[in-house]
């Protein structure tokens, strides 16, 4: 384990009764990065986040946050982590001001100036009760609560779910504006791939409780491609079963292959069978996400 890792998970397993939520999750988040934790529903993203905050305990494997073991140093970790949960639950009868006072009281560090600036930037009325806040406002309140203690690591679980596109963009812009200059690490769990693509510099894609793809956004987009092949006859087995092929979909007489890694050998194999046409296409993060989630093949 190196000092540069903000989060390091090694072979983490977690079951809830018969349900395996995590089965050998291994990934690493570098300090200062904005890392997106992606995956379909039930992939284990929220469970992984809960383990990081010791809201649940892993069955086996090791998990460290900011260089500290999550089970042994939970309190120290929570002092340095800001968390925006998916379910932003605050006492409904409390006003915004009272919620802020409560969280200021239980946090050991609190930047009141930052809190007031964010309140003013978001135009959040301090006297309004939590139950009267819109979903967007509740998200903004959660963000103020997470950012005001000036955490080293910010964990955001589905931060823009339920927000309209304008609010989504504004919300992400606010997060970026706050963390950009301070070198804070951000772990962002989201379904909204277009926002993630704009925001994150690193991606961890999860499925069935483990990480099936990790790397920098740039590297992933350079190595994950689509190849459209129009072969003479069917798709040769050595092409279909090539290690670089993640998934295959037929499109009339042509085939659309999602490929990853070194594609040179694959393309050589394809050309050996004199296809009618071969086309290499770039993939968006959404394409990669869908292909990997469906294919789930390394």
């Amino acid at each position: 384990m190196t000092d540069r890792a903000a989060i390091e998970a090694v072979d983490v397993h977690k079951s809830f009764g018969e349900v395996k939520a995590l089965s050998g999750l291994t990934f690493r988040v570098e300090r200062g990065s904005i890392t997106a934790l992606l995956g379909p529903n039930g992939a284990g993203k929220t469970t992984a986040i809960r383990l990081m905050l010791n809201l649940a305990a892993q069955d086996r494997g090791s998990l460290s946050v900011l260089g500290m073991d999550t089970r042994q140093h939970s309190l120290l970790i929570r002092r340095r982590v800001g968390y925006v949960p998916e379910n932003r639950a605050f006492t409904p009868g409390f006003t915004v001001k009272r919620v802020l006072e409560l969280f200021q009281g239980i946090s050991e560090t609190w930047d009141k100036e930052l809190q007031n600036r964010l309140l003013s930037d978001f135009n959040l009325p301090p006297t309004r009760k939590v139950r009267e806040l819109s979903r967007g406002m509740t998200g903004q309140l959660a963000l103020i609560l997470a950012l005001s203690p000036r955490p080293d690591l910010l964990i955001l679980d589905e931060p823009v779910s339920g927000l309209d596109p304008v609010m989504r963009r504004e919300f992400m812009r606010n997060i970026l504006a706050e963390v950009a200059d301070r070198g804070q690490t951000v772990l962002l769990s989201s379904h909204n791939l277009s926002e993630v693509e704009r925001t994150a510099d690193t991606v961890v894609l999860m499925n069935h409780g483990k990480a099936i793809l990790t790397g920098s956004m740039e590297h992933i987009k350079n190595t994950e491609k689509k190849v459209r092949v129009a072969p003479q006859g069917g798709l040769p087995p050595e092409v279909e079963n090539h290690p670089a092929v993640i998934s295959v979909r037929s499109e009339g007489r042509a085939f659309l292959l999602t490929v990853s890694g070194d594609t040179e050998d694959l393309l050589a194999q394809i050309h050996r069978h004199n296809p009618f046409a071969v086309e290499v296409l770039d993939l968006s993060l959404e394409d990669i996400f869908l292909a990997r989630s469906e294919g789930d093949k390394q």
Binding site: R50, L55, L75, R78, T91, G105
Partner: protein
């Protein structure tokens, strides 16, 4: 200390309506008991009661002091306060777990032990003060309505009654921690209390009955606190609280 103050403030602010309603209900009972004595006595005395009840009625209704003690500590105060203790305890953990506030608080640098301690202390203090305040209202009403002095002796039972209330609150807290649903926690606590009370009707087991313990007969008769009963209640409360604390520490959110 800063954390404890912030968490305690949250608890008292959240439960202020519950506290006012509880105080209102208990105050109404406390005021009515002395005022209704003459009327209730006349009704009972004029009743054509079976012979085996007649003596009990004469004993209880013939002496205002026994009427006050028996009805306050043995019935009205105790039954109502036990129900209030269950209502206060049912949501202490289960409600905050249901609505996600518990996970939100525990993702901050707060230990589970500290969180439960503040919640439990806030509830126990509120319930004990409700019991004490309503008893003081009973004394004041009695003094004002009857004009024969303040019946201070009534207060002798309060320490024991308050400890029973806190013990039942601890029991409900335990169920609120173990069960995901607050209604289930209430029913589990109610069921356990009813069973223990029913067992208390068997003479050798009467010392385990919450209603018997709350009526503190030894304190009435001797004028001294029943230290064995008080110590037993402290041990039971500590055991229930400690189990709830252990369960909360193991809870996965």
């Amino acid at each position: 200390m800063k954390q404890i103050k912030a968490l305690a403030r949250k608890e008292f602010l959240e439960s202020r309506v519950k506290l006012l309603v509880s105080l209102g209900v208990m105050a109404a009972i406390a005021v009515s008991l002395p005022l209704l004595f003459d009327w209730v006595r006349d009704v009972f005395m004029e009743m054509d009661a079976p012979e085996r009840w007649a003596e009990t009625i004469t004993t209880q209704m013939g002496d205002y002091r026994i009427y006050l003690w028996g009805n306050w500590w043995g019935k009205n105060h105790s039954q109502t306060m036990l129900v209030l203790a269950m209502i206060w305890g049912m949501g202490i953990i289960a409600r905050e777990r249901e609505n996600g506030v518990l996970a939100c608080l525990l993702s901050r640098p707060v230990t589970r032990g500290k969180l439960l301690a503040v919640k439990f202390a806030a509830g126990a203090i509120s319930l004990s003060l409700t019991s004490l305040a309503s008893t003081m209202i009973l004394l004041a009403t009695s003094w004002l309505s009857r004009g024969d002095g303040i019946p201070w002796f009534i207060l002798r039972a309060w320490p024991q009654a308050a400890l029973v209330i806190v013990a039942v609150f601890a029991l409900t807290t335990l169920f609120s921690t173990l069960l995901r649903d607050r209604v289930m926690a209430l029913l589990a606590s109610l069921g356990t209390t009813v069973v223990v009370t029913a067992l208390g009707f068997i003479a050798p087991l009467r010392h385990i009955s919450p209603l018997y313990l709350m009526s503190a007969p030894r304190a009435l008769m001797t004028g001294r606190q029943d230290l064995a009963a008080l110590a037993g209640l402290v041990v039971v409360t500590a055991a229930l609280y400690s189990t709830a604390n252990h369960a909360l520490k193991r809870m996965e959110l």
